[in-house]
């Protein structure tokens, strides 16, 4: 299983994501300015600040050269996971519904949070535990979508992860921490599963989100 991990010039958690996927497969670094996915089986868009994120997080990265191929790959059914800034990029690219807004606190927050797995029946969550302890770290993580869209997402089981009661760190609508597209192959989440793959540095609860993808190549 080859996991492509995109590096933008301002990516911060790209190496962390490479280390995490290397525990369940092979990590393939992908460069933002290339038009080549190098035959990977799944794509991870990692956390960070892609191009500085000065306009809106993900707004510029969404037009990066490599994103042409990522969007094609996703439309063809390829599995794409966006973590934090990657989630913001996927929303800006309209591969996922909704948008991420500034935290209600207006502040960056780095904290270990408890998550509930709402939909264990996706390609990304088959091997994940029902409750996960994973860190969040962001300023722009408040999930937003218009009310009717939220109703539809819930009805379609597209809400995959929720902050446990009392744990919502950013004011996200309906405590949403991660959503999947209708087709079930594009997944975005604000918490950082790549920072929850080793008991020494935290927890191992995030590993299942990567392990679930094994065998998911196109």
């Amino acid at each position: 299983m080859k996991f492509g991990v995109i590096t933008f010039p301002g990516s911060c958690d790209d190496l962390d994501a490479q280390l995490a996927v290397a525990r369940v497969g092979t990590a393939v670094p992908l460069w933002h300015a290339d038009h080549d996915l190098q035959g990977v089986d799944a794509v991870i868009i990692p956390g960070g600040f892609s191009y500085g994120d000065y306009l809106r997080p993900g707004a510029v990265a969404r037009f990066a050269p490599i994103m042409t191929e990522v969007i094609e790959f996703a439309h063809a059914g390829g599995h794409v996971m966006g973590i934090c800034n990657g989630f913001q990029v996927l929303c800006e690219a309209r591969l996922l519904p909704g948008a991420l807004l500034t935290n209600t606190s207006l502040r960056f927050v780095c904290r270990q949070v408890s998550l509930e797995l709402v939909n264990p029946d996706t390609a990304f969550t088959r091997e994940a535990p029902a409750r996960l302890s994973i860190p969040v770290k962001h300023t722009t993580g408040r999930y937003y979508a218009p009310e009717p869209d939220l109703d539809r997402l819930e009805a379609n089981r597209q809400v995959v992860l929720r902050y446990a009661p009392g744990e919502n760190p950013n004011g996200s609508a309906r405590d949403i921490a991660g959503v999947i597209n209708e087709a079930g192959n594009v997944f975005g989440l604000m918490p950082h599963p790549e920072h929850a793959v080793d008991a020494l540095t935290g927890s191992t609860d995030g590993l299942g989100l990567f392990a679930s993808l094994r065998g998911c190549g196109l």
Partner: protein
């Protein structure tokens, strides 16, 4: 052509930055301040002003969460 693009959070979207500024203005003794919303101002020179709406839709604003207003003025 010189243009200014005003980008604001859409009506109904929680704007914590605006809310904080509103509270702070009240604390400074400015009574009767309501509806503070904080957005962005983009200034640019463009060859073809007809392309401005597309620029806004695709990059400068996120239409899901933001409204934009284009104000053109001769360069």
């Amino acid at each position: 052509m010189h243009a200014r693009v005003l980008i604001r959070p859409k009506a109904g979207i929680l704007d914590p930055q605006g809310a904080v500024a509103e509270r702070a203005l009240g604390a400074l003794g400015f009574d009767g301040v309501k509806g503070v919303r904080i957005g962005r101002l983009v200034e640019l020179d463009v060859a073809d002003p007809a392309t401005l709406p597309e620029m806004c839709e695709r990059l400068l604003a996120n239409p899901l969460i933001e409204d934009y207003e284009i104000i053109e003025s001769p360069a």
